[in-house]
Subunit: 267 residues, 3 copies
């Protein structure tokens, strides 16, 4: 099942429009190319809708936001919705400033997302920003994170992915826990951004239900981290890991994914 | 002949001003440093003319455009023209939006380019945007691409480089086909941007006619891709290829280029 | 002594806010992660003060400036000052344009810096821009650079780091010369930016006097360059060196630093 998602990306070669931060843009582009996708990065509001219309999917990443880039996200998101393209939101640091919180709220109001990916804190902040949110336990343990994610998914009609030690993928009714990945991935900037980009590619390749496409992306990215870590030489550190993660994506096949994916049904 | 161009870059160590996209800026900088050049990246309209005046050449890359960056391109381009510095245009995605098309048209009207590099679609779009363009067959086969490139070169008085499976280099009268390179280079974001940056360095080192300088840059970049590909270990993918391409530029010598360059006279 | 600084970064894991250029942002982020720090990159004036308030230190890097980013630097700098967070200035290319010179002057007037790092030319330009500066010999030899650095340090009450063949670290009264590093580091874009980022992490970890923290950062970065160079295979070039420098930071320990640091007391 998951292997078909990766096969579909390699066969359909979706063109993914990314409006993303400048810190990890290069890695996101190379990860997408490694997956067999194509990519256009363009963040000017003047051209955002036109660019996204040429593409098969849109990834909105809120890192290094500025007024123009946030404006472009809304314009592109609405254009993508009108065309039926899947849109992914990565609400980077959404709780860190009023500017990001306001932008996220506006995006949830104007754009229908196919998927949202963040860490537990970002997903909670996003959920709290929606009018319908009724709250779960204030503690940030894994279980309450998962309940929050399911609630958010149900409210906005999107697949929600919470990444952390264990990753959680839900569409509000069904859910999976994925244990792929390696702790050292946290020492590489942008592995979360790359997963969000890959989510966009998997959803844009269609052919499968979004929850499965998202689960495939999550397992694939985690597995790339494991394979990359296994390659490390004694002197290699996080810069080498960064390269090996993308290299692992380049060599990923449906079979490698099917054999390496570690997930369980949660609900 | 081509070796002398690379020798000249290494000896004169030109300072190249790049106004370029943020996705591949780091790779362009490291590729230029690998070539023996120095680099300044600066894209604010307030300082664009001043910065370019300190340099030996200017590279304008239209990826991730925004209003301010496009304004800086025009200002820097005109300043570079006034000082007689070579200016290179990389019209990234020029056909993808009205904003890019308008910007390209304005640049061609205001700035004299020493060289333009793009893929077949970008070069055709650029040619169609000029008033004098009379059209060639609408098909996009290689031959019509080459005729379009020669026509554009003649109209704007620049060397035009069309990259693809085979690269094409022309000043409107003479032309070369270069078959260096490796298909896997397409899986690395920014190899085209890097070639445009290298074009700027080769032209800024003077001492040779622009057509030869451009041919040298094209063959060099392709050869770097071949050498990089030959180094790949079984687990290496496009991220490793990216590093090895720049490493190959670091070790490039006139002799390696003369031995490895594969081109033929077209006209 | 120097080892304790690195130990402190690894133990306290400071969160460092970087307002920095887009050319080397990814490398700065990965270098900070390699050191055990965390990092947020955010450059919008609307959120700059809020973001910096969450952090332990601020690094302002003037590469690829634009109006909004420069505005964010002032706002974040003043907020960091009010909270007692250390602020580092990297005046990239300050002598290259009136925009950068004006911005640097304004920053020195509005923000108290804990440390400033630049090359000899940048530090001299910065000193000349201060009202109190009385000039040293106009020549740019090493001795006059060092006298300028000491004068600037005294005037602004900051540690000043001048990097070059030999690095110089002073608080205006005491000073050190550090001879770690390798000439090939110059072929990697952003090693200076990375040092400035590391300076921010070392100062934000507190527990030591700023001059020692700065000396530790300078020796560490130079030593990473040496260790990286020692790893190079015959075909490796500057792209591999770039990766190995960050990898070396990942494996840096207090003992490796104590054994490898090469510095002498200057005054």
């Amino acid at each position: 099942m998951l292997g078909e998602v990766i096969a579909s990306v390699r066969n359909r070669r979706p063109l993914v429009h990314c409006i993303t931060n400048y810190v990890t843009a290069n890695d996101c582009a190379n990860l997408l190319l490694a997956s067999g996708s194509s990519v256009i990065m363009a963040d000017a509001p003047e051209e955002a809708a036109e660019i996204t219309a040429m593409c098969d999917g849109l990834v909105i990443n809120m890192g290094t936001p500025n007024r123009a880039r946030l404006d472009a996200m809304i314009k592109a998101g609405m254009a993508a919705n009108a065309l039926g393209h899947p849109v992914v939101l990565d609400p980077v640091g959404v709780g860190c400033s009023a500017m990001r919180m306001d932008a996220a709220r506006k995006m949830l109001a104007c754009v229908r997302f196919a998927a949202v990916r963040g860490n537990a804190s970002e997903i909670r902040t996003l959920a709290e920003g929606t009018a319908a949110y009724r709250g779960v336990d204030a503690d940030t343990d894994a279980v309450s994170s998962e309940r929050t994610a399911m609630q958010l998914a149900g409210m906005i009609g999107a697949v929600v992915v919470v990444t952390g030690e264990t990753d959680f993928v839900t569409d509000g009714r069904k859910a999976f826990r994925c244990t792929n990945g390696h702790p050292m991935m946290r020492t590489v900037t942008g592995t979360g951004c790359q997963l969000s980009a890959l989510l966009g590619a998997c959803l844009a390749s269609g052919g499968d239900i979004p929850l499965n496409a998202a689960l495939a992306a999550v397992c694939t990215m985690g597995l790339c981290g494991e394979l990359a870590h296994a390659r490390l030489l004694p002197e290699d550190g996080n810069a080498s890991l960064r390269n090996y993660i993308i290299d692992a994506m380049y060599h990923m096949t449906p079979d490698i994914l099917e054999e390496g994916a570690r997930y369980e049904v949660y609900a």
